[in-house]
């Protein structure tokens, strides 16, 4: 089983490494939603390094916890973390979205070890995760299921169908983390279809909810502890994040939802991320 880290400095350093890896892959290969990858990086690092029971050498381990990245367009963050955890070697990622490559611009189940579900069309992951959580409840197994969603994804009606289902069936083995970076593809979420007050809405749907700074590993680790939540309720973490976190010219700028880096932008971004890394 993968050894968990709770040391916050270590988690912080891993996040920085992952952001640098994402930057290099986006710059050298086609594709990549870099802004959303950077908002969700700290969430995924906290989950894979500090929370999940998993085994990179045995990706189908029956007692593992499940993670579904429902905001599948940010798969590059997932791939980079799976790579660093040791699920696969660097040949997978270096051909990301390349002709004949092994990993594309959205996760496809079993394209590489550790990818639990096919996502990319928003509004699917929570239903699938609820089905997995429900199945494990019925089998009286203690595996936990984590689904990472985007705030834009909460525009989808199917997300709310699944929210109702999970609370109806008391799926307290299910946790969602909403990467609330407040930006969709074209504009602020509040200017498109506002979710706010998102925490209150989730509570009204029967979930046990915590709201945290989603770029702070310690806050995520604390909030995700099931002992702090009501038994019999699924857990929701509203993680307020910054899109493009870590690179000044990308932060909270919707232009970086999906944009290729020019060489000078790459250099500046790398310098900033490295300098953060040395700090």
């Amino acid at each position: 089983m993968f050894t968990k880290l709770t040391d916050l400095d270590s988690l912080e350093n891993i996040s920085k490494e992952i952001r640098l890896r994402i930057l290099d892959i986006v710059f050298t290969t086609p594709g990549g939603h870099i802004g959303g990858c950077y908002s969700v990086t700290d969430i995924l690092v906290t989950l894979y390094y500090g929370v999940l029971n998993h085994d990179p050498k045995n990706s189908k381990w029956a007692d593992r916890d499940f993670l579904i990245l429902s905001k599948g367009h940010c798969c590059l963050a997932l791939y980079s973390i799976l790579e660093k955890c040791g699920y696969f070697d660097n040949t997978f990622l270096e051909q990301y979205s390349c002709n004949g490559g092994l990993l594309g611009g959205h996760p496809k189940k079993d394209d590489a070890p550790g990818i639990e579900a096919t996502t990319g069309s928003l509004g699917h992951g929570l239903s699938i995760g609820s089905g997995i959580a429900w199945a494990h409840k019925m089998k009286k197994k203690s595996n936990r299921v984590f689904v990472v969603l985007s705030d834009g994804e909460m525009n989808e009606g199917s997300s709310w169908e699944a929210l109702m289902f999970a609370s109806q069936h008391k799926l307290d083995n299910l946790t969602i983390i909403i990467d609330n970076n407040k930006l969709e593809s074209l504009d602020l979420t509040d200017n498109i279809l506002s979710n706010e007050p998102l925490d209150k809405r989730l509570e009204a749907f029967g979930w046990s909810v915590k709201r945290v700074n989603g770029n702070n590993h310690g806050e995520i680790l604390t909030a995700i502890n099931p002992e702090l939540h009501q038994e019999g309720k699924p857990i929701a973490i509203v993680a307020d994040t910054i899109k493009g976190k870590g690179v000044s010219f990308m932060e909270s700028n919707s232009m970086w939802h999906y944009r290729k880096l020019k060489p000078d932008e790459y250099k500046i971004a790398k310098k900033e991320l490295k300098s953060n890394s040395d700090a």
Binding site: K108, I128, S130, G131, W134, S158, F165
Partner: protein, 307 residues
């Protein structure tokens, strides 16, 4: 057909504990006996079909064999993208059972008619599409679906259908193969689903004029193309009949085969024309309105051959 499905489901569930039934708040009274026998394996997940298919995917990924049941437009059209992504791309053995194929929800109107489903489902890679013609074939189709390691769509009528297949026809029926009901020489009828009743009646009406053959298609996908090619080569005239739009169903599937073969046969595609089915009435009336009742079929075939 609904009751036949419930019976087949119960029999399968007795032998396989992983089978669970999900319904979208549809089927009043139909599944009482299943629910009584397997209370922990019957789930009404509500009027939320997209979620229902996603839940089924998650259950399947965790070792269950989910059977998902509701009225066809809500199952196939509302949840189409979940079927495409969660079931077909992930290639999961989830069985979708749609009730109300064609015009059987007659007076409920075009929202409840299912005349595009075969076209839609046939286009999905990994999906198997089964079209039992009568209650006796429902059980066979349901059993067939368990041998497929991916998703299956089974299209049912509603209730009260007559059994059409003889014991010999049932005995000789094979999964994924055509079922030759009658051999002939001049006109080959190819029928799909419960409309077989009208097709058989049309054959009777034409029996003194033409030597007709008849095959029943219970597996639209995979389609037994080689046997169909062989059959087509024996006839000058082919007539396909379906309670479905003339676009994309069995008529189209057979036309695709003819177009890619050396056959000189001419095909008449009989089905529901490319219209919104707004006419109000019972199924028998609507079949007549759309010229797919036995009498209309016979008349159209005569005109086609003599034209």
């Amino acid at each position: 057909m609904r009751n036949a499905f419930n019976t087949a489901l119960i029999e399968s569930a007795r032998n396989d504990e992983s089978i669970v039934l999900l319904v979208g708040d549809i089927g009043f009274g139909v599944f009482d006996s299943f629910r009584d026998e397997f209370p922990d394996r019957f789930f009404n997940v509500g009027v939320a079909e997209a979620n229902m298919v996603g839940i089924a995917a998650g259950l399947s990924m965790s070792g269950f064999k989910p059977v998902v049941y509701t009225i066809i437009p809500f199952l196939i059209m509302r949840a189409f993208e979940q079927i495409r992504v969660d079931l077909c791309i992930q290639n999961l053995p989830v069985i979708l059972v749609g009730v109300g194929g064609g015009l059987v929800y007659d007076t409920l109107g075009p929202t409840h008619h299912a005349i595009e489903d075969l076209s839609i489902m046939r286009s999905l890679p990994n999906m198997h599409v089964l079209t039992p013609c009568d209650p006796s074939e429902v059980k066979l189709s349901f059993n067939d679906s368990f041998s497929h390691r991916g998703p299956t769509y089974i299209r049912l009528g509603r209730g009260g259908e007559k059994n059409l297949l003889t014991e010999d026809l049932i005995k000789n029926r094979l999964p994924e193969k055509i079922n030759v009901i009658k051999n002939g020489k001049e006109v080959l009828f190819i029928s799909c689903g419960p409309i077989l009743e009208e097709t058989m009646a049309a054959l009777d009406l034409l029996s003194s004029d033409f030597n007709c053959g008849l095959i029943n298609i219970h597996s639209l996908k995979p389609l037994d193309k080689n046997s169909i090619k062989d059959q087509i080569s024996l006839y000058n005239f082919i007539v396909t009949i379906e309670e479905h739009s003339i676009i994309g169903g069995i008529g189209s599937a057979i036309a695709e085969i003819i177009a890619q073969s050396s056959s000189n046969s001419r095909q008449l595609i009989i089905g529901i024309p490319d219209v919104i089915t707004t006419e109000i009435g019972k199924r028998e009336y609507l079949l007549g309105h759309h010229n797919i009742d036995a009498k209309s079929i016979a008349n159209r075939v005569k005109s086609f051959i003599l034209s």
